[in-house]
Subunit: 239 residues, 2 copies
Amino acid sequence: MPKMKFEGIYKDLKQKIETQEYEFQQFLPSENTMVTIYKCSRNTIRRAVSLLVKDGYVQSLHGKGVRVIYQPVDPAYFTIGGIESFKESAARNHKKAATKVIQFAELTADERVSRKTGFPVGSELYYIQRVRYLDEIALIFDINMFLKSQVPGLTPRIAAQSVYEYLEGTLGMQIDVSKRKMTVERATQIDHKYLELKDYDFLAVVSGQIFNSEGIMFEYTQSRHRPDYFCFQDTATRS
Amino acid sequence: MPKMKFEGIYKDLKQKIETQEYEFQQFLPSENTMVTIYKCSRNTIRRAVSLLVKDGYVQSLHGKGVRVIYQPVDPAYFTIGGIESFKESAARNHKKAATKVIQFAELTADERVSRKTGFPVGSELYYIQRVRYLDEIALIFDINMFLKSQVPGLTPRIAAQSVYEYLEGTLGMQIDVSKRKMTVERATQIDHKYLELKDYDFLAVVSGQIFNSEGIMFEYTQSRHRPDYFCFQDTATRS
DNA sequence: GCCGATTTGTCCGTATGTATC
DNA sequence: CGATACATACGGACAAATCGG
């Protein structure tokens, strides 16, 4: 059960939309109706709805109502959306996940690394390379750097399971915000070595900096995706 | 001058961050301070700040303050973020824009088009193909479909300038929300014909459905980008 | 370790404006 | 025109996290 009221309402509405209790192009109940349904103030309803807007689930129309624009997605691709661990993404995409750790090392950030990652020069880092398998196929080559001071006791064993479970569960860290860039890059020797790229010579590359709830950038990630299977989803609003 | 208070405050803060009056890792003034600065309620301040959070400009830290995490971007790439016309993107990236209309036709959506675009079968559409040049280089191949009933009087001449200026200016339409998907696809004959792809055999493809403020999906877009120069930016928050 | 001051987070009630029907 | 519905804004109350003394 969610602690916050608005979050509970948000999740309830989201679930009702996903199960198509509220269908595409239908309107949600009016804000005043929901105030009585959920026994809360109108502000709280508006807050929950604004999250649905951000997710691209609904569109609110002044004077008319709030219309559902969510449509189920084609499950063929491996889609990426919010901040998710590989395990979580795999579960959402209904695929079987596996991870192989290629390299696990320690590293001190020099000028070059700092420019690329945003870590200050001299930062003590863990450097990890992993191959991600979905339904037995090698699809993603991951490069991670973690700030040692924020992620103490990280081991190859944990890297093979879920670093995020370790961070959030064992260490009690709260992951907050991720700034990402998506580009297309030519495949390297390493990519060809670990991914089954066939004749593909390009990869979809997602690079990101991740901040925790203390405002510290604790991770830099680069995920190199096999181009077929890759799909990045996004909702944007005007002005 | 913006009509809404929170919007004015948002823009003022945003500009101060971009010009680095508030620098990376610095804190904004506290909410109570800003209440006196901008002579408004705390809710209004919080609303403006929440927009900056959504933009990935700041991160708010409970009990501490609101920290700037904005950093200027490398101007080499052509970056994509919110909903923008090609002209607006070009201006923001400080590049000279030009457009060549390859095809301008009318079309009725059949089953295949409907599945791909989301328009209902039987919709009357304009079908446009355009090549986009930045600083004289052919970078993007655009395919647009517009719902005729919503975009009456569209002409090749307008398509060569700015369709969005026509929509928002002349027709008074308000563009609201865009749902997008980013994938990587193999280049077609057409791509090679109109874009200078050299030996690249893949493209970054952004497909999207765009809704206006009446809740009508009036546009389907597919933008096929030359892979070098392409950069898609995003900010995500956890849970 | 505790306490108080500061700061952000959640929630409420109300008033007024504006668009739709 | 009035009723309905969303949008903006205010002010207040209390909770939770942080920090310094």
